[in-house]
Amino acid sequence: MRNILHRENLKVLYILAIIAFGLFMLFFINNLLLSSVLAFVIFYLLAPVINYFERKGFNRGLAIFTIYTLNTITVVIAFWIFIPLLIEQFYLLEKELPSLQEGVLNLVAKVENRLGYFSQLESLNLRDKLGQWMIAQTTLFSTWIPYWVGNSLTTLFLTPFLAFFMLRDGSRAKRTILDLIPNRFFEVSLRLVYEMNEQVGSFIRARIAEALIVGLVTWIGLLIIGFPYAILLALFAALTNLIPYLGPVLGTVPALVIILVNPNLLFESMGMSFLAVGIVYLTAQLLDALIIIPVVVAKIVNLHPVTVILVIILGAQVLGVLGMIISIPVASLAKLFVTTLYQQTARTP
């Protein structure tokens, strides 16, 4: 019996060393964490499609190759259509950035004047501080873009590469790692891996569906009311929507700032402009809240709203925006892990 325990302890140490090495690689190799997260997203999005083709009698390798080729063509076409539009709107925004900055500063000045009787507010000198911050951010923005594009290119090549091998060899790799697990932890580990896989997969698919719906409805809505930068704003709303609770609010901020700076952009009165933009964003959020969340997300993430907020804050402090996005699945996985271990140790039939 001592011999068995010694052998199993060695196996545990071996697995812990592999996990530690993996984590070290993820955090210390530039872009690997982001590329891995994105590769997992692609893996979970494509796995059901590849399984479908396999069910229809296709060889798995051939199915992966076909789906990859089709996806590459789709992405290239999408880039061909959307990238020029995005670049055009981006240049327009860059040109109008000084006037927008000025508009925001004037707005702050107006607010300061109206609330002038609060002497403490005046002493804060918000307008000057905000002006300095905005100039610093604009400079940072222009220097950051080339760096970001460079990083994006690495991620752009690394992500599909990782996702391809996850799809092709993921099952085999999972089995090899499971083979290393000591007998007494094997069944519980197998169950955990399966449930975690299911939960993360469903969560990612639901989140992407949400982001797509919100982005698409916002884009169409803003196009209908003739709002500028429709595609940029829709993209921003879709991306921020990935952050639970705070995301939808954050997504509306740029559009509201644009109206505040240019009150007569859409209609004569600022109220009407607010109303029109508000209806667009609200429709997108309602579709999300009434269809996607109750049907899909609520069943997957069984966390209390307070817990959700706390883990988002924690995620933001540890990993920034990426941390805010991945905090919920990580927290629900941790919950699943603890619950399963508790069931295993409590042994209460």
């Binding site: 019996m1 011999n3 068995i4 399984n51 396999e54 069910r55 099952s171 085999r172 089995r175 499971l178 083979d179 007998n183 007494r184 094997f186 069944e187 519980v188 197998l190 169950r191 891996v193 399966y194 069931q343 295993q344 042994r347 209460t348 039939p349």
Partner: protein
């Protein structure tokens, strides 16, 4: 080093052939075609146990079943009338050998808890087939999944029939016992009166 690598590759091939041959002979997978069996060889898990090692404990959450590739396994139960699980109160149920299988109820039941403990008596090599594996087969190859599920239903049906027969036998024995005890009581009364 290279020779070692080749030996490993050849050894792995031999192991896979062993598993393939074993699965082909087994009742649960006997309807599968050679292509389906090949697919299944990459799904099942081969586990090695030392003599005296517990495979699972009674009351543990169960995930699936095991086939005995080599070795001997004992199935034992703890007497439910004793609160403390002591080795002394273990009831021996059966001894299983090469080709036998156990734990198949866990493939279907949800949530599932082991109704007995399994202990490796000698060094054992077991082939584990678990619920996530069955679900993976159903998802990727539903036809194969159906064949396995039908065989599994047949096994569970047979087990149920055997259990019903055993319970009926026990009920009949209990009735006889009660009647005998009743008769003995009446005779005793007659004798005392």
């Amino acid at each position: 080093m290279i020779q070692n690598l080749w030996e490993n590759v050849l050894n792995k091939r031999k192991k896979e052939t062993d598993i393939y041959g074993f699965l082909k002979q087994s009742f649960l997978f006997k309807d599968l075609s050679s292509k389906e069996l090949e697919f299944l060889t990459h799904i099942v898990h081969v586990r090695h146990f030392q003599g005296g090692e517990k495979i699972f404990n009674q009351g543990d959450p169960g995930v699936g079943m095991y086939y005995i590739l080599t070795g001997t396994v004992d199935i034992i139960m703890h007497d439910p009338s004793f609160e403390v699980k002591d080795d002394k109160e273990e009831i021996f149920i059966t001894r299983l050998e090469k080709g036998d299988f156990f734990g198949e109820l866990s493939l279907i039941e949800e949530p599932s808890y082991r109704s007995a403990s399994a202990v490796a008596i000698t060094r054992c090599t077991l082939i584990g087939f678990f619920k996530p594996d069955l679900l993976q087969v159903i998802q990727r190859n539903p036809q194969t999944g159906n064949k396995i599920s039908l065989r599994l239903a047949e096994i569970l049906g047979r087990r149920l029939r055997e259990t019903t027969e055993k319970v009926t036998e026990l009920c009949v024995e209990l009735n006889h016992f009660k009647k005998d005890a009743g008769n003995a009581g009446t005779n005793e009364k007659h004798f005392t009166s």
